[in-house]
Protein backbone atom coordinates (compact mmCIF):
# COMPACT_ATOMS: atom_id res chain seq x y z
CA UNK A 1 0.00 0.00 0.00
CA UNK A 2 2.96 2.31 -0.47
CA UNK A 3 1.81 3.40 -3.93
CA UNK A 4 1.24 7.11 -4.40
CA UNK A 5 -2.35 8.34 -4.49
CA UNK A 6 -1.79 10.00 -7.84
CA UNK A 7 1.06 9.72 -10.30
CA UNK A 8 1.45 11.50 -13.62
CA UNK A 9 4.49 10.19 -15.45
CA UNK A 10 5.43 12.27 -18.50
CA UNK A 11 1.74 12.63 -19.36
CA UNK A 12 0.75 14.38 -22.55
CA UNK A 13 -2.78 14.99 -23.82
CA UNK A 14 -3.54 16.44 -27.23
CA UNK A 15 -6.92 17.57 -28.54
CA UNK A 16 -6.32 17.72 -32.26
CA UNK A 17 -3.55 20.28 -32.70
CA UNK A 18 -3.89 21.63 -29.18
CA UNK A 19 -1.64 20.23 -26.47
CA UNK A 20 -3.64 20.60 -23.23
CA UNK A 21 -1.22 18.69 -21.01
CA UNK A 22 2.46 18.69 -21.88
CA UNK A 23 4.76 16.06 -20.34
CA UNK A 24 3.23 16.53 -16.92
CA UNK A 25 5.03 14.96 -13.98
CA UNK A 26 3.27 15.06 -10.64
CA UNK A 27 3.11 12.73 -7.68
CA UNK A 28 0.60 13.20 -4.87
CA UNK A 29 1.21 11.12 -1.77
CA UNK A 30 -1.53 9.56 0.29
CA UNK A 31 -3.09 11.96 2.75
CA UNK A 32 -1.90 15.12 1.00
CA UNK A 33 -4.21 18.08 0.37
CA UNK A 34 -2.99 19.52 -2.90
CA UNK A 35 -4.23 22.46 -4.94
CA UNK A 36 -3.72 22.52 -8.66
CA UNK A 37 -3.61 26.22 -9.42
CA UNK A 38 -3.73 27.78 -12.83
CA UNK A 39 -5.67 30.08 -15.11
CA UNK A 40 -8.41 28.81 -17.41
CA UNK A 41 -6.87 26.74 -20.15
CA UNK A 42 -3.83 25.77 -18.10
CA UNK A 43 -4.69 22.08 -18.34
CA UNK A 44 -6.12 21.60 -14.83
CA UNK A 45 -9.41 20.08 -15.91
CA UNK A 46 -7.74 17.91 -18.52
CA UNK A 47 -5.42 16.60 -15.81
CA UNK A 48 -8.40 15.98 -13.50
CA UNK A 49 -10.29 14.16 -16.27
CA UNK A 50 -7.23 12.00 -16.99
CA UNK A 51 -7.19 11.11 -13.29
CA UNK A 52 -10.84 10.11 -13.37
CA UNK A 53 -10.42 7.93 -16.43
CA UNK A 54 -12.67 10.25 -18.46
CA UNK A 55 -9.81 10.88 -20.89
CA UNK A 56 -7.02 8.70 -22.16
CA UNK A 57 -3.51 10.21 -22.25
CA UNK A 58 -1.88 10.71 -25.63
CA UNK A 59 1.44 9.80 -24.05
CA UNK A 60 2.81 8.78 -20.66
CA UNK A 61 1.11 7.01 -17.77
CA UNK A 62 -1.48 8.06 -15.21
CA UNK A 63 -1.73 5.95 -12.07
CA UNK A 64 -4.31 6.30 -9.32
CA UNK A 65 -3.73 4.40 -6.07
CA UNK A 66 -1.39 2.06 -7.88
CA UNK A 67 -3.76 1.12 -10.69
CA UNK A 68 -5.27 2.50 -13.86
CA UNK A 69 -7.69 5.41 -13.22
CA UNK A 70 -10.75 3.55 -14.56
CA UNK A 71 -9.97 0.60 -12.26
CA UNK A 72 -9.70 2.84 -9.21
CA UNK A 73 -13.02 4.50 -10.13
CA UNK A 74 -14.71 1.12 -10.70
CA UNK A 75 -13.47 -0.05 -7.30
CA UNK A 76 -15.11 2.94 -5.60
CA UNK A 77 -11.80 4.38 -4.38
CA UNK A 78 -12.37 7.75 -6.01
CA UNK A 79 -14.95 10.47 -5.39
CA UNK A 80 -15.18 13.40 -7.75
CA UNK A 81 -16.74 16.70 -8.65
CA UNK A 82 -15.81 16.66 -12.34
CA UNK A 83 -15.89 19.79 -14.46
CA UNK A 84 -19.30 20.14 -16.15
CA UNK A 85 -20.75 17.46 -13.90
CA UNK A 86 -24.50 17.62 -13.35
CA UNK A 87 -27.31 16.10 -11.33
CA UNK A 88 -30.22 13.80 -12.07
CA UNK A 89 -33.33 15.99 -12.45
CA UNK A 90 -36.67 15.20 -10.83
CA UNK A 91 -35.41 13.53 -7.66
CA UNK A 92 -34.85 14.74 -4.10
CA UNK A 93 -31.54 15.62 -2.49
CA UNK A 94 -31.74 12.68 -0.09
CA UNK A 95 -32.84 10.38 -2.92
CA UNK A 96 -29.81 11.26 -4.99
CA UNK A 97 -27.35 10.96 -2.10
CA UNK A 98 -28.90 7.58 -1.29
CA UNK A 99 -28.36 6.53 -4.89
CA UNK A 100 -24.68 7.44 -4.59
CA UNK A 101 -24.50 5.46 -1.32
CA UNK A 102 -25.99 2.50 -3.15
CA UNK A 103 -23.46 2.77 -5.98
CA UNK A 104 -20.37 2.83 -3.76
CA UNK A 105 -19.32 -0.35 -1.96
CA UNK A 106 -18.58 1.25 1.44
CA UNK A 107 -20.85 4.26 1.81
CA UNK A 108 -20.91 6.74 4.67
CA UNK A 109 -24.21 7.18 6.57
CA UNK A 110 -26.76 9.45 4.87
CA UNK A 111 -27.12 11.77 7.86
CA UNK A 112 -23.35 12.38 8.05
CA UNK A 113 -23.16 13.13 4.35
CA UNK A 114 -26.01 15.62 4.53
CA UNK A 115 -24.40 17.31 7.52
CA UNK A 116 -20.93 17.41 5.94
CA UNK A 117 -22.32 18.92 2.76
CA UNK A 118 -24.54 21.33 4.74
CA UNK A 119 -27.67 19.88 3.17
CA UNK A 120 -29.45 18.66 6.30
CA UNK A 121 -32.33 21.12 5.88
CA UNK A 122 -32.68 20.35 2.18
CA UNK A 123 -33.06 16.55 2.24
CA UNK A 124 -36.55 16.62 0.74
CA UNK A 125 -35.88 19.41 -1.77
CA UNK A 126 -36.10 18.61 -5.48
CA UNK A 127 -32.70 18.69 -7.12
CA UNK A 128 -33.88 21.03 -9.88
CA UNK A 129 -34.98 23.62 -7.30
CA UNK A 130 -31.55 24.09 -5.69
CA UNK A 131 -29.52 27.28 -5.96
CA UNK A 132 -26.10 27.23 -7.60
CA UNK A 133 -24.28 26.91 -4.30
CA UNK A 134 -26.63 24.21 -3.04
CA UNK A 135 -26.09 22.30 -6.26
CA UNK A 136 -22.34 22.40 -5.70
CA UNK A 137 -22.81 21.13 -2.15
CA UNK A 138 -24.93 18.25 -3.39
CA UNK A 139 -22.26 17.38 -5.95
CA UNK A 140 -19.81 17.37 -3.05
CA UNK A 141 -22.10 15.02 -1.10
CA UNK A 142 -22.04 12.63 -4.07
CA UNK A 143 -18.25 12.84 -4.21
CA UNK A 144 -17.82 11.88 -0.53
CA UNK A 145 -20.71 9.39 -0.42
CA UNK A 146 -18.45 6.37 -0.90
CA UNK A 147 -15.85 7.46 1.68
CA UNK A 148 -13.26 7.56 -1.13
CA UNK A 149 -9.49 7.32 -0.66
CA UNK A 150 -9.01 10.05 -3.24
CA UNK A 151 -11.19 13.13 -3.73
CA UNK A 152 -10.82 14.99 -7.03
CA UNK A 153 -12.56 18.38 -6.94
CA UNK A 154 -12.54 20.51 -10.08
CA UNK A 155 -13.36 24.15 -9.24
CA UNK A 156 -15.57 22.97 -6.36
CA UNK A 157 -16.62 26.32 -4.89
CA UNK A 158 -18.00 27.91 -8.05
CA UNK A 159 -21.33 29.62 -7.21
CA UNK A 160 -20.91 29.15 -3.45
CA UNK A 161 -21.34 32.16 -1.19
CA UNK A 162 -18.70 33.14 1.35
CA UNK A 163 -20.15 31.18 4.26
CA UNK A 164 -20.71 28.08 2.14
CA UNK A 165 -17.15 28.31 0.94
CA UNK A 166 -15.80 28.46 4.50
CA UNK A 167 -17.93 25.52 5.64
CA UNK A 168 -16.99 23.60 2.53
CA UNK A 169 -13.25 23.99 3.04
CA UNK A 170 -13.53 23.20 6.73
CA UNK A 171 -15.18 19.90 5.78
CA UNK A 172 -12.61 19.16 3.07
CA UNK A 173 -9.77 19.82 5.50
CA UNK A 174 -11.52 17.49 7.96
CA UNK A 175 -11.52 14.71 5.38
CA UNK A 176 -7.85 15.35 4.62
CA UNK A 177 -7.06 15.22 8.33
CA UNK A 178 -8.66 11.78 8.50
CA UNK A 179 -6.40 10.52 5.72
CA UNK A 180 -8.35 11.19 2.52
CA UNK A 181 -6.11 12.41 -0.27
CA UNK A 182 -7.56 15.55 -1.83
CA UNK A 183 -6.59 17.10 -5.14
CA UNK A 184 -8.51 20.21 -6.13
CA UNK A 185 -8.26 22.54 -9.09
CA UNK A 186 -8.80 26.25 -8.70
CA UNK A 187 -7.85 29.53 -10.30
CA UNK A 188 -8.03 31.43 -7.01
CA UNK A 189 -4.63 31.84 -5.39
CA UNK A 190 -6.27 32.72 -2.06
CA UNK A 191 -8.28 29.49 -2.05
CA UNK A 192 -5.20 27.41 -2.73
CA UNK A 193 -3.21 29.40 -0.20
CA UNK A 194 -5.72 29.01 2.63
CA UNK A 195 -6.64 25.38 2.15
CA UNK A 196 -3.83 23.38 0.61
CA UNK A 197 -0.71 21.87 2.17
CA UNK A 198 0.90 22.04 -1.21
CA UNK A 199 0.26 24.07 -4.33
CA UNK A 200 1.10 22.89 -7.80
CA UNK A 201 1.00 25.77 -10.25
CA UNK A 202 0.11 24.60 -13.74
CA UNK A 203 0.56 26.65 -16.88
CA UNK A 204 0.68 25.55 -20.47
CA UNK A 205 -0.10 21.99 -19.44
CA UNK A 206 2.93 21.55 -17.18
CA UNK A 207 3.97 22.17 -13.60
CA UNK A 208 5.78 25.49 -13.24
CA UNK A 209 6.01 25.67 -9.44
CA UNK A 210 5.41 23.01 -6.82
CA UNK A 211 5.69 23.80 -3.13
CA UNK A 212 4.08 25.04 0.06
CA UNK A 213 1.78 28.06 -0.21
CA UNK A 214 4.51 30.28 1.22
CA UNK A 215 7.04 29.09 -1.33
CA UNK A 216 4.63 29.62 -4.18
CA UNK A 217 3.70 33.11 -3.08
CA UNK A 218 7.34 34.04 -2.64
CA UNK A 219 8.12 32.90 -6.12
CA UNK A 220 5.07 34.78 -7.37
CA UNK A 221 6.62 38.13 -6.45
CA UNK A 222 5.25 38.85 -2.98
CA UNK A 223 2.79 41.68 -2.34
CA UNK A 224 1.56 44.95 -3.72
CA UNK A 225 1.40 48.14 -1.66
CA UNK A 226 -0.92 50.74 -3.11
CA UNK A 227 -1.64 54.31 -1.99
CA UNK A 228 -2.72 57.68 -3.34
CA UNK A 229 -0.17 60.41 -3.79
CA UNK A 230 -1.25 63.33 -1.60
CA UNK A 231 1.38 65.71 -2.89
CA UNK A 232 5.10 65.24 -2.24
CA UNK A 233 7.80 63.64 -4.24
CA UNK A 234 7.62 60.33 -6.01
CA UNK A 235 11.37 60.05 -6.17
CA UNK A 236 12.97 57.51 -3.86
CA UNK A 237 10.06 55.11 -3.74
CA UNK A 238 12.05 52.58 -5.74
CA UNK A 239 14.76 52.68 -3.08
CA UNK A 240 12.45 51.61 -0.23
CA UNK A 241 13.42 48.21 1.18
CA UNK A 242 11.87 45.22 -0.58
CA UNK A 243 10.48 47.19 -3.51
CA UNK A 244 11.05 45.57 -6.87
CA UNK A 245 8.91 47.85 -9.05
CA UNK A 246 6.99 51.14 -8.91
CA UNK A 247 3.89 51.74 -11.03
CA UNK A 248 2.15 55.12 -11.23
CA UNK A 249 -1.37 55.43 -12.64
CA UNK A 250 -2.59 59.01 -12.27
CA UNK A 251 -2.47 59.73 -8.54
CA UNK A 252 -2.36 56.04 -7.60
CA UNK A 253 0.97 54.43 -6.88
CA UNK A 254 1.59 50.69 -6.66
CA UNK A 255 4.77 49.25 -5.20
CA UNK A 256 5.65 45.63 -5.79
CA UNK A 257 7.55 44.19 -2.88
CA UNK A 258 9.05 40.97 -1.68
CA UNK A 259 8.59 42.04 1.97
CA UNK A 260 5.40 43.99 2.50
CA UNK A 261 5.91 44.71 6.21
CA UNK A 262 9.37 46.28 5.84
CA UNK A 263 8.26 48.26 2.82
CA UNK A 264 5.22 49.70 4.61
CA UNK A 265 7.26 50.66 7.71
CA UNK A 266 9.76 52.52 5.56
CA UNK A 267 7.00 54.11 3.50
CA UNK A 268 5.22 55.48 6.57
CA UNK A 269 8.48 56.93 7.91
CA UNK A 270 9.36 58.49 4.59
CA UNK A 271 6.03 60.17 3.87
CA UNK A 272 3.79 62.46 5.87
CA UNK A 273 0.58 61.23 4.23
CA UNK A 274 -0.20 57.96 2.51
CA UNK A 275 -3.98 58.05 1.95
CA UNK A 276 -5.87 54.92 0.76
CA UNK A 277 -2.98 52.68 1.79
CA UNK A 278 -3.62 49.00 1.10
CA UNK A 279 -1.55 45.86 0.93
CA UNK A 280 -2.67 43.02 -1.30
CA UNK A 281 -1.22 39.65 -2.12
CA UNK A 282 0.09 39.05 -5.56
CA UNK A 283 -2.87 37.96 -7.63
CA UNK A 284 -2.81 35.11 -10.03
CA UNK A 285 -2.07 37.24 -13.04
CA UNK A 286 1.00 38.54 -11.23
CA UNK A 287 1.91 35.03 -10.23
CA UNK A 288 1.71 33.87 -13.79
CA UNK A 289 3.67 36.75 -15.13
CA UNK A 290 6.27 36.00 -12.50
CA UNK A 291 6.20 32.22 -12.79
CA UNK A 292 5.80 31.60 -16.46
CA UNK A 293 8.18 34.23 -17.83
Amino acid sequence: MSAAAVDFDEVTKNFGQVRAVDRLNLTVHKGELVAMLGPNGAGKSTAANLLLGLLRPTGGHVTVLGRRPAEAVAAGQVGAMPQDGGLMPGVTVAGLVDLARDIYPHPRPLAELLTDADLAGLAGRRVDRLSGGQTQRLRFALAIAGDPELLVLDEPTTAMDVRSRQDFWRTVRGYAARGTTVLFATHYLAEADENADRIVVVAGGRVVVDGTPAQVKASAGGHRVRFTVGGGELAGLDRLPGVTAVEVHGSSVTLRTTDAETTVRALLCAREHTPDLEVTGADLEDAFLALTH
Partner: protein, 244 residues
Amino acid sequence: MLSLLRLEIRRMLVDTRFLILMLALPIAMYLLFTNIFGNTPPVNGLSEDVREMIAMAAFGAIGAALMATAPRIAVERTNGWLRQLRTMPISARTVITAKVLSAMVWGLPAIVLVDLTAVLDHGVRLPAWQWPAIGGLLWVGTAPFAALGTLLGYLTDGDTAFGVMFGIYLALAALGGLWMPVSILPKVLQHIAAVLPSNRFAELGWRIASGGSPSLLGATILVGWLAAFAALAGLLYRRSNALR
Protein backbone atom coordinates in the same frame (compact mmCIF):
# COMPACT_ATOMS: atom_id res chain seq x y z
CA MET B 1 -28.95 -0.94 -9.99
CA LEU B 2 -32.18 -1.40 -8.06
CA SER B 3 -32.05 1.97 -6.35
CA LEU B 4 -31.25 3.64 -9.68
CA LEU B 5 -34.23 1.88 -11.26
CA ARG B 6 -36.43 2.91 -8.34
CA LEU B 7 -35.38 6.55 -8.75
CA GLU B 8 -35.88 6.41 -12.51
CA ILE B 9 -39.41 5.13 -12.01
CA ARG B 10 -40.28 7.54 -9.20
CA ARG B 11 -39.06 10.68 -10.93
CA MET B 12 -41.64 10.22 -13.71
CA LEU B 13 -44.33 10.88 -11.10
CA VAL B 14 -43.21 14.49 -10.71
CA ASP B 15 -42.97 15.00 -14.47
CA THR B 16 -46.25 16.76 -15.24
CA ARG B 17 -45.62 16.73 -18.97
CA PHE B 18 -45.28 12.96 -18.87
CA LEU B 19 -48.35 12.41 -16.69
CA ILE B 20 -50.55 14.58 -18.89
CA LEU B 21 -49.32 13.57 -22.32
CA MET B 22 -48.60 9.92 -21.81
CA LEU B 23 -51.15 8.84 -19.22
CA ALA B 24 -54.08 11.28 -19.44
CA LEU B 25 -54.04 12.07 -23.17
CA PRO B 26 -54.65 8.47 -24.38
CA ILE B 27 -57.63 8.22 -22.01
CA ALA B 28 -59.06 11.53 -23.24
CA MET B 29 -58.57 10.52 -26.85
CA TYR B 30 -60.18 7.16 -26.19
CA LEU B 31 -63.28 8.87 -24.82
CA LEU B 32 -63.31 11.35 -27.69
CA PHE B 33 -62.85 8.83 -30.51
CA THR B 34 -65.29 6.25 -29.15
CA ASN B 35 -67.97 8.89 -28.75
CA ILE B 36 -67.44 10.09 -32.31
CA PHE B 37 -66.98 6.73 -34.05
CA GLY B 38 -68.63 4.54 -31.42
CA ASN B 39 -71.49 3.42 -33.59
CA THR B 40 -69.34 2.17 -36.45
CA PRO B 41 -70.11 -1.50 -37.20
CA PRO B 42 -67.47 -4.01 -36.08
CA VAL B 43 -64.57 -4.61 -38.51
CA ASN B 44 -63.00 -8.11 -38.58
CA GLY B 45 -65.08 -9.02 -35.53
CA LEU B 46 -63.62 -6.09 -33.58
CA SER B 47 -66.00 -3.47 -32.19
CA GLU B 48 -64.87 0.15 -32.33
CA ASP B 49 -64.81 0.35 -28.51
CA VAL B 50 -62.32 -2.51 -28.34
CA ARG B 51 -60.27 -1.44 -31.37
CA GLU B 52 -59.88 2.04 -29.91
CA MET B 53 -59.10 0.67 -26.47
CA ILE B 54 -56.18 -1.31 -27.79
CA ALA B 55 -55.04 1.52 -30.09
CA MET B 56 -54.99 4.01 -27.22
CA ALA B 57 -53.35 1.56 -24.82
CA ALA B 58 -50.65 1.11 -27.46
CA PHE B 59 -50.47 4.89 -27.96
CA GLY B 60 -49.96 5.44 -24.23
CA ALA B 61 -47.42 2.63 -23.89
CA ILE B 62 -45.36 3.93 -26.83
CA GLY B 63 -45.45 7.42 -25.32
CA ALA B 64 -44.37 6.22 -21.90
CA ALA B 65 -41.52 4.18 -23.39
CA LEU B 66 -40.26 7.11 -25.48
CA MET B 67 -40.70 9.65 -22.70
CA ALA B 68 -38.80 7.63 -20.11
CA THR B 69 -35.81 7.31 -22.43
CA ALA B 70 -35.25 9.97 -25.13
CA PRO B 71 -35.55 13.25 -23.19
CA ARG B 72 -34.00 11.72 -20.06
CA ILE B 73 -30.89 10.49 -21.82
CA ALA B 74 -30.52 13.63 -23.93
CA VAL B 75 -30.90 15.97 -20.95
CA GLU B 76 -28.53 13.98 -18.77
CA ARG B 77 -25.93 13.81 -21.51
CA THR B 78 -26.21 17.57 -21.86
CA ASN B 79 -26.41 18.56 -18.19
CA GLY B 80 -23.49 16.42 -17.02
CA TRP B 81 -25.26 13.83 -14.88
CA LEU B 82 -24.03 10.96 -17.05
CA ARG B 83 -20.56 12.46 -16.71
CA GLN B 84 -20.89 12.49 -12.92
CA LEU B 85 -21.96 8.83 -13.03
CA ARG B 86 -18.87 7.97 -15.06
CA THR B 87 -16.74 9.04 -12.09
CA MET B 88 -18.66 6.61 -9.88
CA PRO B 89 -18.43 2.81 -9.71
CA ILE B 90 -21.42 2.09 -11.96
CA SER B 91 -21.20 1.05 -15.59
CA ALA B 92 -22.77 3.11 -18.37
CA ARG B 93 -24.54 -0.08 -19.46
CA THR B 94 -26.32 -0.32 -16.10
CA VAL B 95 -27.36 3.32 -16.31
CA ILE B 96 -29.02 2.87 -19.71
CA THR B 97 -30.53 -0.49 -18.76
CA ALA B 98 -32.27 1.17 -15.80
CA LYS B 99 -33.81 3.74 -18.15
CA VAL B 100 -35.08 1.07 -20.55
CA LEU B 101 -36.55 -0.93 -17.66
CA SER B 102 -38.18 2.22 -16.27
CA ALA B 103 -39.68 2.84 -19.71
CA MET B 104 -41.11 -0.68 -19.73
CA VAL B 105 -42.47 -0.31 -16.21
CA TRP B 106 -44.29 2.90 -17.13
CA GLY B 107 -45.77 1.26 -20.20
CA LEU B 108 -47.84 -0.90 -17.87
CA PRO B 109 -50.02 1.79 -16.20
CA ALA B 110 -50.44 3.45 -19.60
CA ILE B 111 -52.00 0.22 -20.86
CA VAL B 112 -53.99 -0.58 -17.73
CA LEU B 113 -55.50 2.91 -17.39
CA VAL B 114 -56.93 2.89 -20.91
CA ASP B 115 -58.26 -0.65 -20.45
CA LEU B 116 -59.86 0.40 -17.20
CA THR B 117 -61.52 3.39 -18.85
CA ALA B 118 -62.90 1.13 -21.57
CA VAL B 119 -64.34 -1.28 -19.03
CA LEU B 120 -65.78 1.35 -16.73
CA ASP B 121 -67.03 3.87 -19.26
CA HIS B 122 -67.96 1.68 -22.22
CA GLY B 123 -68.64 -1.63 -20.55
CA VAL B 124 -66.08 -3.38 -22.75
CA ARG B 125 -66.11 -7.11 -22.02
CA LEU B 126 -63.55 -9.63 -23.24
CA PRO B 127 -63.01 -13.31 -22.37
CA ALA B 128 -60.95 -13.40 -19.17
CA TRP B 129 -57.82 -14.88 -20.80
CA GLN B 130 -57.65 -12.09 -23.35
CA TRP B 131 -56.93 -9.37 -20.79
CA PRO B 132 -53.56 -10.71 -19.59
CA ALA B 133 -52.74 -11.81 -23.14
CA ILE B 134 -53.37 -8.34 -24.60
CA GLY B 135 -51.77 -6.53 -21.67
CA GLY B 136 -48.74 -8.81 -21.64
CA LEU B 137 -48.14 -8.64 -25.40
CA LEU B 138 -48.49 -4.87 -25.45
CA TRP B 139 -46.11 -4.64 -22.53
CA VAL B 140 -43.40 -6.82 -24.07
CA GLY B 141 -44.01 -5.03 -27.35
CA THR B 142 -42.89 -1.66 -25.89
CA ALA B 143 -39.27 -2.86 -26.15
CA PRO B 144 -38.68 -1.51 -29.69
CA PHE B 145 -39.97 1.90 -28.57
CA ALA B 146 -37.74 1.97 -25.52
CA ALA B 147 -34.84 1.19 -27.89
CA LEU B 148 -36.01 3.96 -30.27
CA GLY B 149 -36.18 6.39 -27.33
CA THR B 150 -32.65 5.47 -26.30
CA LEU B 151 -31.47 6.05 -29.87
CA LEU B 152 -33.19 9.47 -29.93
CA GLY B 153 -31.57 10.27 -26.60
CA TYR B 154 -28.17 9.99 -28.27
CA LEU B 155 -29.19 11.73 -31.51
CA THR B 156 -30.63 14.84 -29.86
CA ASP B 157 -29.60 17.16 -27.04
CA GLY B 158 -31.44 18.43 -23.98
CA ASP B 159 -33.18 21.21 -25.89
CA THR B 160 -34.35 19.29 -28.94
CA ALA B 161 -35.06 15.84 -27.50
CA PHE B 162 -38.66 16.37 -26.49
CA GLY B 163 -39.72 18.02 -29.74
CA VAL B 164 -38.08 15.44 -31.97
CA MET B 165 -39.42 12.59 -29.86
CA PHE B 166 -42.94 14.01 -29.82
CA GLY B 167 -42.97 14.55 -33.58
CA ILE B 168 -41.92 10.96 -34.22
CA TYR B 169 -44.42 9.79 -31.63
CA LEU B 170 -47.35 11.52 -33.33
CA ALA B 171 -46.26 10.35 -36.78
CA LEU B 172 -46.00 6.76 -35.56
CA ALA B 173 -49.45 7.00 -34.02
CA ALA B 174 -51.17 8.64 -36.99
CA LEU B 175 -49.53 6.55 -39.72
CA GLY B 176 -49.70 3.37 -37.65
CA GLY B 177 -53.49 3.48 -37.51
CA LEU B 178 -53.75 4.23 -33.80
CA TRP B 179 -56.00 7.25 -34.29
CA MET B 180 -58.09 5.99 -37.20
CA PRO B 181 -58.25 2.60 -38.88
CA VAL B 182 -55.53 2.01 -41.45
CA SER B 183 -58.26 1.04 -43.94
CA ILE B 184 -59.41 4.64 -44.26
CA LEU B 185 -55.88 5.92 -44.99
CA PRO B 186 -54.75 6.49 -48.62
CA LYS B 187 -53.29 3.40 -50.34
CA VAL B 188 -49.67 4.61 -50.10
CA LEU B 189 -49.97 5.25 -46.38
CA GLN B 190 -51.53 1.84 -45.90
CA HIS B 191 -48.38 0.23 -47.31
CA ILE B 192 -46.25 2.34 -44.99
CA ALA B 193 -48.45 1.50 -42.00
CA ALA B 194 -47.95 -2.22 -42.59
CA VAL B 195 -44.22 -1.95 -41.82
CA LEU B 196 -44.42 0.55 -38.97
CA PRO B 197 -43.70 -0.76 -35.47
CA SER B 198 -46.65 1.20 -34.05
CA ASN B 199 -49.13 -0.57 -36.34
CA ARG B 200 -47.66 -4.02 -35.72
CA PHE B 201 -47.54 -3.26 -32.01
CA ALA B 202 -51.29 -2.51 -31.78
CA GLU B 203 -51.96 -5.41 -34.10
CA LEU B 204 -50.72 -7.77 -31.37
CA GLY B 205 -53.69 -6.71 -29.27
CA TRP B 206 -56.22 -6.43 -32.09
CA ARG B 207 -55.49 -10.02 -33.15
CA ILE B 208 -56.03 -11.39 -29.66
CA ALA B 209 -59.22 -9.38 -29.13
CA SER B 210 -60.73 -10.73 -32.35
CA GLY B 211 -60.00 -14.25 -31.17
CA GLY B 212 -56.86 -14.91 -33.20
CA SER B 213 -53.16 -15.13 -32.38
CA PRO B 214 -50.32 -12.69 -33.22
CA SER B 215 -49.14 -12.83 -36.82
CA LEU B 216 -45.65 -14.16 -37.47
CA LEU B 217 -45.04 -11.33 -39.94
CA GLY B 218 -46.07 -8.73 -37.35
CA ALA B 219 -43.84 -10.21 -34.67
CA THR B 220 -40.94 -10.43 -37.13
CA ILE B 221 -41.32 -6.78 -38.09
CA LEU B 222 -41.36 -5.73 -34.41
CA VAL B 223 -38.27 -7.79 -33.62
CA GLY B 224 -36.60 -6.32 -36.70
CA TRP B 225 -37.25 -2.74 -35.51
CA LEU B 226 -36.07 -3.68 -32.03
CA ALA B 227 -32.82 -5.09 -33.43
CA ALA B 228 -32.28 -2.06 -35.68
CA PHE B 229 -32.99 0.55 -32.99
CA ALA B 230 -30.96 -1.32 -30.38
CA ALA B 231 -27.99 -1.73 -32.73
CA LEU B 232 -27.99 1.96 -33.66
CA ALA B 233 -28.48 3.05 -30.07
CA GLY B 234 -25.65 0.73 -29.04
CA LEU B 235 -23.39 2.24 -31.68
CA LEU B 236 -24.05 5.81 -30.53
CA TYR B 237 -23.82 4.75 -26.91
CA ARG B 238 -20.36 3.26 -27.49
CA ARG B 239 -19.23 6.31 -29.40
CA SER B 240 -20.49 8.57 -26.61
CA ASN B 241 -18.70 6.57 -23.92
CA ALA B 242 -15.50 5.91 -25.87
CA LEU B 243 -12.39 7.34 -24.26
CA ARG B 244 -10.95 10.18 -26.27
